[in-house]
Point group: none
Chain length 190, copies 4
């Protein structure tokens, strides 16, 4: 039951947290961005930290739900992996600010809320791992250490928020093709 104002505040916060970082963003900054007084913000949010938690939670939940859907499809593991990559990149790039806040600013959360995000992030890793395990089981993929491999792929994908802005001309699809090719076929000729 998020009111218009709540959504507006969250959007402003995402933008500010992405630009300046959570700590460098004051509650006053957010209030200014939505045309309210500092005090009035507290009708809509519990705390600045809670605002960050909501943003991060929604972001990682979205990633999880989409990956769960892909995992449930009746297609080869190779296709699932490619879909996972393309999905991740598409979501990352089209919500670049939110993704940046999730990946860069979650550490600013206190212990409990941070653990909450961490658990969902672990879950996301598990889903990627599951795709790899399926591929090994199906004999589509070489025998690999699925979790470690998932961490490599996920690392590559998560790194995107760090460089995408500068190389802004690429589409998520173009990146996905390169990444998919790398992870499926490797660099070596033949």
């Amino acid at each position: 039951m998020a009111s218009n104002k709540q959504v507006e505040i969250a959007l402003a916060a995402v933008q500010l947290f992405e630009q300046k970082g959570y700590h460098a963003t004051s509650v006053q900054d957010i209030a200014d961005a939505v045309g309210l007084q500092k005090g009035s913000l507290y009708h809509y949010i519990h705390s600045k930290e809670d605002l960050l938690l909501q943003i991060a939670h929604q972001a990682i939940t979205d990633f999880n739900q989409r990956l769960e859907h892909i995992l449930s499809l009746d297609i080869p593991a190779k296709e699932k992996l490619l879909a996972a990559i393309e999905n991740h990149l598409t979501v990352s790039i089209s919500n670049l600010q939110t993704t940046t806040v999730l990946l860069r600013e979650s550490f600013a959360l206190g212990e409990n809320p941070h653990q909450m995000i961490q658990d969902l992030t672990d879950r996301y890793l598990d889903l990627w791992t599951a795709i790899l395990e399926e591929g090994v089981r199906n004999e589509e993929f070489r025998i690999v250490q699925p979790k470690l491999t998932a961490l490599a792929i996920l690392g590559a994908c998560n790194w995107v928020y760090r460089w995408y802005k500068q190389s802004g001309s690429l589409t998520a699809h173009e990146v996905a093709i390169v990444f998919g090719g790398l992870f499926l076929d490797g660099l070596l000729k033949e």
Copy 2:
């Protein structure tokens, strides 16, 4: 010409910045850690921000110097890539706290110092890219987009600081073998 105390302060700061983050670490925390009064710290540092800059600068410079060395070796590109991966993981993991501060906390720097680190980081990417370009030129590697591929590999490697602690039993070498295999041969059978 760094005195003992300066080194001690930098080490304490690395540890605290890694554990609590730059913003959550007060100058008082650092002073306590080295057994000085708050004010006395300022005999050794210019500012808290400068302390972070020194740490990050030394870290990325170390990465760059080692990779430059690898690039200069007279070995096939494939071997250079494997050496780069192993080197990066070894350094990351043996200086996990410093690497974490570099990769996670540099954003806390103000514009100018942040750009300084960014420039050195861009240089590091260029070195990875150069290895890939060499491999393509030598016809060791498939035709790839070298920069995008470098970003993928570097992303995977840089992500390590996020998960290594939890999987603490692995050595850098073990991770390097898995990563190297993934990037050279890909996942697909045959």
Copy 3:
């Protein structure tokens, strides 16, 4: 649009700056004087320095406006000079604290704000000079170097904040008569 509290703060600051000097007055002192917490002061002021600037600016602007009025009157230069002296002394003495802060503490301002006050002070000198020039032109006054003479008269008048308290029994008018006599007629007999 200055609120009551803002006025109250400015008054307290004037009093403290006059008694202890700007540097020896802490923000805490001002807060105590108006019954607020240190932090609460910052709802009303930008900074301690800005507070000083406001005080000095208002003071010199007041001097300027009154002298501009006198200059515009249709009376002989001699009368303008006497009015200027009486006005200056009346304002100085009735706002002795503010005048003291203006003349003694403005140097504590940083470069830019200090220049701002300096410019207005230069303007004040120009107005005195204009009176003298008028008197010379009208052949009321001897030929003199108007600016240098203005500096002498203004110096004498500005010095009042240094000694008035001790000789507190004199009225501004009494002082003005002595000063006026001195500057118009000189000391010599005949």
Copy 4:
């Protein structure tokens, strides 16, 4: 028995206090200026405040001694007054920095040292007053309130440190002629 170093320190302090003000000048600044370490300064000075006191004390004592000499001369009061003016302006202008420190920074002294300077300053005023009283007694001067008149003349002369730099081309003698003419003859024609 002021050593070379002590003199050097005092000169550096005068220059810095004049340029930046006493409060804005750190002990480190002074140490830098004379090529010593902060700690080493304390072999030569008791405290920063004492340094200011020495400077101010020497300055006002110099003014007093010279005026006492003038007062003791066997010449008309009119000549004494002109000599006093010329002397004051000559000393002020040739030691402009010291005079500025005396007149602008003495207020930074604590109560007791400040009173010490104040007493010497009062003495200086008394000497000027004595000249005027002598002139009245001799019937050289009109009947005036000697102290108030002395305050006017002294104010005019003391103000010089505020404007002289800008009008740097004038000599002390040139200023003295204008000031002397003003105080003896006044502005009015005839």
